[in-house]
């Protein structure tokens, strides 16, 4: 048997996870020294309430999980004779996978016959969401683990994500975006455009005056970089900005024709680094 895992940083919620049989590894964030494990400490993510806290000035922190916690997730599967496929958020954005590697190597000594495979989505939030669902779809369609791993080798890099944030102070604090201009902080009215690189990192690639120009930039990028976009899910992720997300969706349909658009709430752990009112689009592309 194969057990599927993904984590909450991929925006997958328990309902979507259940569709494919994914088990969810909860990636925590902390507010006022209280650590919260999504979908462990709450059942439904109230995005509006969470991002309103950030609007009011709360700056959450995020933390890696321990080796022990990974053991708790994986050990029962190996003990039950199951193999594991973990589709996770980018290794390049965290050190949490060092703890996972330790846990896995420990388990492999005890269960040498068991397989542990992983697919690094080289991204976080919406882009990971799209890839996790694609993997789930392939497995549901009857593809083998090895076929899915082979697919991931070439296809992960074909999912691109471009987004803009409202306020760079969250990114600046986490230091997770490269290429930001030297003094860009809170730029009222200026939207930096950020994309997920092939290395699985967030990289700034310009800025636009105003939200409308920023959305036009995203539409233009999908048009230029997109590859067979209508055949794949187009995921529009947002940090409590449903109206802007819909507006972007409409603009995309207007520019590219009918699309399979899915709107996704960005999970609180990733959202802690982005801040509220951010919107991004993930699409099938020639390259990232």
């Amino acid at each position: 048997m194969l057990t599927l895992f993904t984590d909450t940083d991929t925006d997958i919620n328990p309902a979507v996870a259940a569709e494919y049989g994914y088990k969810l590894i909860s990636m925590p964030y902390s507010v006022d020294a209280k650590t919260v494990f999504p979908y462990v400490d709450f059942e439904t993510f109230d995005a509006h309430a969470f991002y309103d806290q950030l609007r009011a000035g709360v700056l959450p922190t995020t933390s890696a999980i321990s080796k022990e916690r990974y053991l708790e997730y994986f050990e029962p599967e190996f003990a039950a004779g199951n193999d594991i496929l973990y589709v996770h958020f980018s290794r390049a954005m965290t050190n949490t996978f060092d703890a996972m590697d330790q846990a896995v190597s420990e388990l492999k000594e005890r269960f040498p016959e068991r397989r542990f495979e992983e697919i690094d989505t080289k991204g976080i939030t919406t882009i990971s969401y799209a890839i996790v669902r694609e993997v789930g779809d392939h497995l549901k369609a009857g593809k083998s683990l090895d076929e899915v791993l082979a697919w991931a080798k070439t296809e992960v890099d074909r999912f691109a994500m471009y987004f803009f944030a409202d306020d760079l102070k969250f990114f600046r604090r986490s230091g997770r975006v490269s290429g930001l201009a030297a003094t860009m902080g809170t730029l009222i009215g200026i939207r930096p455009i950020i994309f997920m690189s092939a290395e699985g990192k967030m990289v700034s690639c310009g800025k636009e005056k105003g939200r409308i120009r920023a959305m036009e930039h995203l539409v233009e990028t999908v048009r230029e970089l997109g590859d067979d976009v209508p055949s794949y899910r187009v995921c529009i992720g947002h940090t409590d900005a449903p109206d802007i997300a819909r507006e972007l969706g409409n603009m995309l349909v207007e520019a590219l024709g009918p699309l399979k658009i899915e709107y996704v709430d960005v999970n609180p752990t990733a959202g802690s680094h982005c801040g509220p009112n951010g919107v991004g689009v993930c699409f099938h592309a020639k390259h990232r």
Binding site: A182, M184, T186, K209, G210
Partner: protein
């Protein structure tokens, strides 16, 4: 030689400032000693006794701070020791003069403390006593002073605690080393950066607020000329005065030279000290500084030393929201100022000092302030100052939003910032204080540059009319900063949004005086 000593001191002035923890950690020993010796240099000339006398007199007049005063007394003693001697001193005569200098220095301090400049001086002179020539004298003097300096933390716990040696002693050692080098024909190169006279103390007046406690009192220094009308100069016993001062203050340095009394004292009530002393004469100079403020400045700088950086930004703004916006956008120093409050050249210079970057970009954000910024840039030598000719807050805002220093090329950055400033349209809403062709007194006027483009019975409707007049709909962003007296409702944002659907409307609290609204279109 004296010049060599001054140059050597100047080289290490900042290091010496940073050592300063006793008696008050005000971080100015190096500056004070340098200004004292510089005053001596300006006065010096002629034969050795003449030179020594003139230098001592110059230092007396220019002495600053504890260490400066002690330094001036050392030279006064040396001068006294050299009077009546040959035009050039041999080593024994020089040693006698140095001993007189030690004696004078100790006399200047009401309660001499060991582990300070006094100890370093005394032990150095003691060790150099048996030298055969001046070269050997200075070699011995330097090495003994160096040794004495390293022992100062054992003698003075406050130094040990701070992990430093005595700053005054370090300053004196620098001077003596410089004199030795000059004697050996090795001149200290004055670096252009440090050869300037120290700037006025960098004080943040806001560091001492309505609720602050006067922790360290005032550093009070003055030169008092005894007056015949008030005292009998011949029989006046200055010890009576010094005893009174010692009882009413701390860190007293006091001496008399003819009819001049030099006093340095730390006190919480400088008025009382001055009133008391004025019964004996009149003041030639008076300097009073709040040491809590000085300490705060130095303490803050030590707590959070600013790393040296390639680029910095200084901007002028007023209003809490605007100041915060500029800060959050990465401005290092925001100078409070605007239409009715034009900052001085000095304020700019102080800001440049605090930024301490190789290149500083300046956003004056007002046509009336541009000139002061340019003047400050012209006289400032510490950094390459580039004034971006932003004439409105909107221009400054958008220029800043376009600041990208990654090229490292200051010229290119200036070009980009100036070009960005040109892209912006700024409008202002303010109440008319007189009737003109376009607006009645008491109504609101909407203007851009010098043209009144809209008027109305209230600020909000005038803003909408101004936005129309400035064709806000052709811009991507309509950013509105509300002033300290404005009360923008949610309707204002909605009304602007409905009028200009393709333009992003953002209303932010700016808190600026004078203008109810500042409209920034880009």
């Amino acid at each position: 030689m004296l010049r060599g000593g001054a140059a050597a001191l100047n080289e290490r002035r900042q290091q010496i400032n940073e050592l300063n923890v006793f008696p008050i950690p005000d971080g100015d020993t190096g500056d004070n000693m340098y200004m004292t010796i510089e005053a001596g240099l300006e006065a010096a000339g002629g034969t050795l006794p003449e030179l020594a006398s003139a230098a001592a007199k110059g230092m007396l007049m220019g002495a600053r701070g504890n260490s400066g005063v002690i330094l001036s007394r050392l030279f006064a003693g040396i001068s006294k020791g050299l009077q009546g001697g040959p035009e050039t001193a041999d080593v024994r005569a020089f040693h006698r003069a140095m001993q007189a200098g030690v004696e004078e220095s100790y006399k200047a301090v009401s309660e001499p403390v060991e582990g300070t400049i006094l100890t370093v001086l005394r032990e150095g002179v003691q060790a150099a006593g048996g030298s055969r020539d001046l070269m050997e004298y200075f070699d011995l003097l330097v090495s003994a002073m160096d040794l004495a300096l390293t022992h100062t933390p054992e003698q003075l716990p406050v130094l040990k605690q701070a992990g430093v040696v005595d700053s005054g002693g370090a300053g004196l050692l620098a001077i003596v080393e410089g004199m030795r080098d000059a004697l050996e024909g090795r001149a200290v190169q004055e670096s252009s950066a440090s050869a300037q006279t120290p700037a006025a103390p960098k004080l943040d007046l806001d560091a001492f607020t309505e609720d602050s406690v006067l922790e360290y009192g005032y550093c009070t220094e003055f030169l008092l000329r005894l007056q015949r009308a008030k005292v009998d100069l011949d029989s006046f016993d200055e010890r009576v005065l010094s005893d009174w001062l010692a009882a009413h203050g701390e860190s007293l340095v006091f001496f008399r030279d003819g009819s001049i009394i030099k006093t340095h004292v730390h006190t919480h009530t400088p008025g009382e000290i001055l009133n008391h002393c004025q019964q004996y004469g009149e003041f030639l100079t008076v300097k009073i500084e709040n040491m809590t403020l000085q300490h705060h400045e130095n303490h803050m700088e030590k707590l959070a030393p600013k790393p040296h950086k390639a680029f910095g930004v200084v901007a002028v703004a007023s209003g809490e929201g605007l100041v915060q916006s500029f800060r959050e956008m990465g401005v290092d120093e925001v100078i409070e100022g605007g239409q009715t409050m034009n900052p001085s050249v000095q304020r700019f210079i102080e800001a440049f000092d605090r930024v301490a970057a190789d290149t500083v970009f300046v956003l004056p954000n007002n046509a009336n302030i541009l000139l002061a910024a340019q003047q400050a840039a012209a006289v400032y030598e510490g950094s390459d100052i580039r004034v971006i000719p932003c004439k409105t807050l909107g221009e400054g805002y958008f220029a800043l939003a376009n600041l990208d220093t990654s090229s490292g090329d200051a010229d290119e950055i200036v070009r980009a910032l100036s070009a960005a400033a040109q892209e912006v349209v700024t409008g202002m809403i303010s109440r008319a204080i007189r009737t003109t062709r376009e607006v009645k007194k008491g109504e609101w006027a909407g203007f851009s540059g010098k043209s009144i483009l809209a008027s109305g019975p209230d600020a909000e409707s005038t803003l909408l009319a101004l936005a129309d007049a400035l064709d806000a709909g052709s811009h991507d962003v309509c950013l509105v900063f509300s002033g300290q007296d404005a009360d923008p409702s949610a309707d204002l944002s909605a009304a602007l949004g409905a009028r200009f659907p393709r333009t992003e409307v953002i209303v932010q609290p700016g808190g600026q005086p004078v203008y109810d609204y500042i409209l920034v279109l880009f």
